[in-house]
């Protein structure tokens, strides 16, 4: 079996591998975290602890699917830990005793400076390796906590400073995506003493409605609430925030979160600058075992990329995401249709007509498509809808008078 070193140092702490449970229902007690370590997770962010004890609704989840995929996005109404603070601190102590080489991160949430400072001290005394400041839970029943705090740079900075007073441990601040620009908040946290950033927490959402009762889901005695949305569907949003953070603050260290289920997702977060990765929804659906294929798949990817240290992959893609105004707009790429692969369904023709530029023509007799280059703008919508992958990027054509002295073969497609 392939064997590569997946260890990575993040905020000065060495992780045996970058895969961590995120602060959530999946790391809610000693037994859960112990099982996760046993299965091979490199770290655990223990479910957020605080003086506030959550009082939860029932039921508390919803999901959204598309076509035959039952679970592309997930909505969760749980807040922070529901066990007493002392019990959580005891679990943290015991976990650290049993698993000294795996990383344990205490996620904390206070309602004021004193609580933040006290929680930081208590978690440090319990033996945590690192802290994460939860500035981002979007479904708190108190507006002094959660994403309401995370939208305010001033509050975030103040609470970071308080945490720094309470602990010498490295700590990261966990960001809410329910904000136009995350950068000012992240900068304020770093200014307040945070060593790194965790992003993203869940996106405020209503997943679905009961059409008979006219109530959002899940229904709690005839009502529902807006709450956090996660899973595969939020990955693109999370990746965008990775990029924006790295662009604005190049040396920021990030723990990436948002829809990670496969090694491919993991590699994408790493290439955009994440050093560690946190997972919840994938575990809630499939269990801790998903880490096996994430680790093994990532090792194979490292092998293919010819790198021995995971660190060497971090942030490799950041330089290749640039502002829209800087992209090369001098050429178009026509679709190349593999007629042997084509099964004659005509979906490319439908999408091209109704959603693009009416360039894909249809031969009724042979049931085969043909691209009319006079109309085609090279958007390649056709390739995205083809069910058998018969349409790929083909011939390049420079727009009139735009080639200069460039060659087609130099264009990276």
């Amino acid at each position: 079996m392939v064997n590569k070193d997946l260890s990575i140092t993040f905020l000065g702490v060495k992780f045996p591998n970058p895969f961590c449970l995120s602060a959530s229902p999946v790391g809610n007690c000693y037994d859960m975290c112990a099982k996760a370590y046993d299965v091979g997770w490199g770290g655990v962010v223990f479910k957020t602890i605080g003086f506030f004890i959550a009082d939860e609704v029932s039921p508390r989840f919803d999901k959204i699917g598309k076509e035959s995929t039952p679970f592309i996005g997930f909505k969760n109404m749980e807040q922070i830990a529901e066990h007493p603070l002392e019990d959580n601190l005891r679990d943290i102590r015991n976990l650290k005793k049993k698993y000294p080489h795996q990383v344990l991160i205490a996620s904390i949430m206070g309602a004021n400076e004193k609580e933040w400072e006290d929680l930081a001290r208590l978690a440090t005394e319990a033996g945590a390796d690192m802290l994460e400041l939860n500035f981002s839970c979007p479904q708190m029943t108190s507006h002094a906590m959660g994403s309401d705090v995370g939208s305010s740079p001033e509050l975030c900075q103040k609470y970071c400073t308080a945490v720094r007073r309470g602990s010498k441990l490295p700590f990261m601040a966990k960001m809410t995506p329910n904000i136009t620009d995350m950068v000012p908040v992240a900068k304020a946290c770093l200014d307040g003493g945070a060593d790194g950033i965790a992003a993203i927490n869940t996106v405020k959402s209503i997943c679905s409605l009961d059409l008979e009762k006219h109530i959002g889901m899940p229904i709690v005695d005839g009502k529902s609430s807006i709450s956090g949305y996660s899973g595969k569907a939020v990955k693109p949003i999370a990746l965008r925030f990775m990029q924006q953070l790295k662009q604005a603050i190049p040396d920021v260290q990030i723990s990436g979160i948002g829809g990670i289920e496969t090694w491919v997702d993991a590699a994408e977060f790493i290439l955009l600058g994440a050093k560690t990765l946190q997972v919840t929804t994938g575990i809630m659906e499939y269990g801790y075992r998903i880490v096996e294929d994430m680790k093994n798949g990532l090792m194979h990817y490292m092998e293919e990329q010819g790198v021995d240290h995971l660190e060497d992959l971090v942030g490799l893609a950041n330089k290749n995401i640039i502002p829209a105004e800087q992209l090369d707009r001098d050429y178009k790429v026509y679709p190349s249709i593999d007629l042997d692969k084509c099964i004659g369904c005509g979906r490319c023709v439908i999408s091209c007509y109704d959603g693009a530029h009416q360039a894909m023509e249809w031969d009724k007799e042979t049931r085969k498509p043909k691209c009319n280059h006079d109309k085609c703008v090279g958007c390649l919508l056709c390739g995205h809808v083809c069910p058998v992958g018969a349409i790929s990027k083909g011939e390049i054509e420079f727009k009139k008078g735009r080639q200069g002295n460039r060659k087609k073969e130099d264009i990276i497609l």
């Binding site: 079996m1 392939v2 035959s68 995929t69 289920e261 496969t262 090694w263 491919v264 499939y286 075992r289 998903i290 096996e292 294929d293 994430m294 093994n296 798949g297 194979h300 069910p387 058998v388 992958g389």
Partner: protein, 403 residues
């Protein structure tokens, strides 16, 4: 004669797209029944999960590290008897097509030039293996993994045994057999071809090696007494071997009678139909309720137009006309054929070896001689040959290392 149907795989392999769909049908269930039902110890739940989560290389490792003939088993294993039998998905519609997913995974492994089989540092001991069929090949690969030098002695011109000379091309191509054998050779197993092992040669092997594996297979077809010396009669074993060697380019008559109802009989009747024989009748000792062959193969044969008559035993033969009577009901039939193929069981040609006695098809280990494959205890299938090939390697390791 049109032989292209014979040489083409019966079913389309899965593509990247369809394997994703099939893996997504998998319920990823707890304590997966599929992973508890493979004689060769395959863990389908694990490799299907890897496919589901896009880790195709990891899936290939899971298959190959456990089974040096993973690409062959993927194609020939009667999965509905083993891994697919308890599939939880049956509670919704039908089991996951585990063999097809395994085939995709091993094809992916080939396409990406992965070399997964490993050998350990040599421990200085060496083992001779007689027979390069599935059991001998598996024993060789496993012994090398444990640090032994393994050399196989094979009587035929090519390695593979029943994989090469028995299983029809449409189920298992020579190309796959070649590439699987090459993997095993690449990892250090040496194969000597065209060496017939008799007692004298066996004595020599015993003297020169620390242990000897006999994986002789049951390489000869049985002939019922009434069919002896009948010019129209051949055994299914000989028939399938000839067809495969000639890639189906054999002239066949219009009326063929097959007697027998096991997997070999199903391979025979299917081959005949794929080669364009008009009338193929298969008379079977067992009734359909007692049938031995896999349901899939049986239905496949019936779909091709083979008439299968169940519950009959042959009474009399005159030239090409065979009369049968039913075992339970008052019914007789008489079938005329230009060719009669017997698929009524196989036996092992010992070639004068006296160190081994075989009773009811099976023998016993004897001193430094160890058995694998058909002549070892267990079912007579490829997957069992893989199992006993692995077992014999560990048995020898225990024997020689005193574990």
């Amino acid at each position: 004669m049109d032989n292209c149907k014979y040489s083409q795989p019966f079913e389309e392999p899965l593509s990247l797209k369809t394997v994703d769909e099939e893996a997504n049908r998998c319920l990823l269930c707890l304590d997966a029944p599929c992973s508890q039902d493979c004689p060769a110890g395959t863990d389908p739940a694990k490799f299907i999960r890897s496919v589901r989560f896009l880790n195709f290389m990891g899936a290939a490792e899971t298959v190959r590290e456990n089974n040096p003939l993973g690409a062959i088993c993927a194609r020939v294993c009667p999965t509905e008897r083993y891994c697919q039998k308890g599939c939880s998905r049956s509670g919704i519609d039908r089991p996951i097509e585990i063999g097809k997913i395994q085939q995709f995974v091993t094809d992916y492994e080939n396409a990406h030039g992965m070399k997964i089989l490993k050998k350990s540092k040599a421990n200085g001991k060496k083992v001779a293996i007689v027979g390069a069929g599935p059991a001998g090949l598996t024993a060789g690969a496993t012994l090398v993994k444990l640090g032994y030098k393994a050399e196989i002695y094979e009587a035929s011109e090519k390695a593979g045994g029943y994989l090469r000379y028995g299983i029809p091309e449409y189920r298992l191509s020579d190309e796959i057999v070649d590439s699987e054998i090459k993997r095993i050779e690449d990892v250090g197993v040496k194969i000597h071809l065209g060496v017939k092992v008799d007692q004298k040669k066996l004595d020599e092997l015993k003297a020169n090696y620390d242990a000897v594996v006999l994986a002789l297979g049951s390489n000869k077809g049985k002939i019922l007494p009434m069919f002896e010396k009948n010019a129209k009669v051949v055994t299914a074993v000989d028939f399938l071997a000839e067809i495969k060697a000639k890639k189906g380019a054999v002239k066949l008559p219009d009326q063929v009678l097959v007697i027998g109802g096991g997997d070999v009989a199903m391979d025979t009747v299917t081959t005949l139909k794929l080669l364009g024989v008009k009338q193929v009748s298969d008379v079977v000792y067992e009734t359909f309720e007692e049938f031995k062959a896999s349901k899939k193969e049986l239905q496949g044969a019936q779909k091709l137009g083979v008439s299968i008559l169940d519950g009959y035993i042959p009474e009399k033969v005159e030239g090409g006309i065979v009369s049968f009577k039913h075992r339970y009901k008052e019914s007789r039939l008489s079938i005329a054929a230009d060719l009669i193929i017997l698929a009524v069981g196989q036996f092992t040609d010992l070639n004068g070896i006296t160190d081994l006695t075989i009773e009811k098809g099976e023998g016993k280990d004897n001193g430094k001689i160890f058995l694998a494959g058909d002549i070892a205890h267990g079912e007579k299938t490829v997957v069992y040959a893989v199992r006993t090939g692995k077992e014999v390697a560990y048995k020898i390791d225990n024997f020689l290392e005193g574990k």
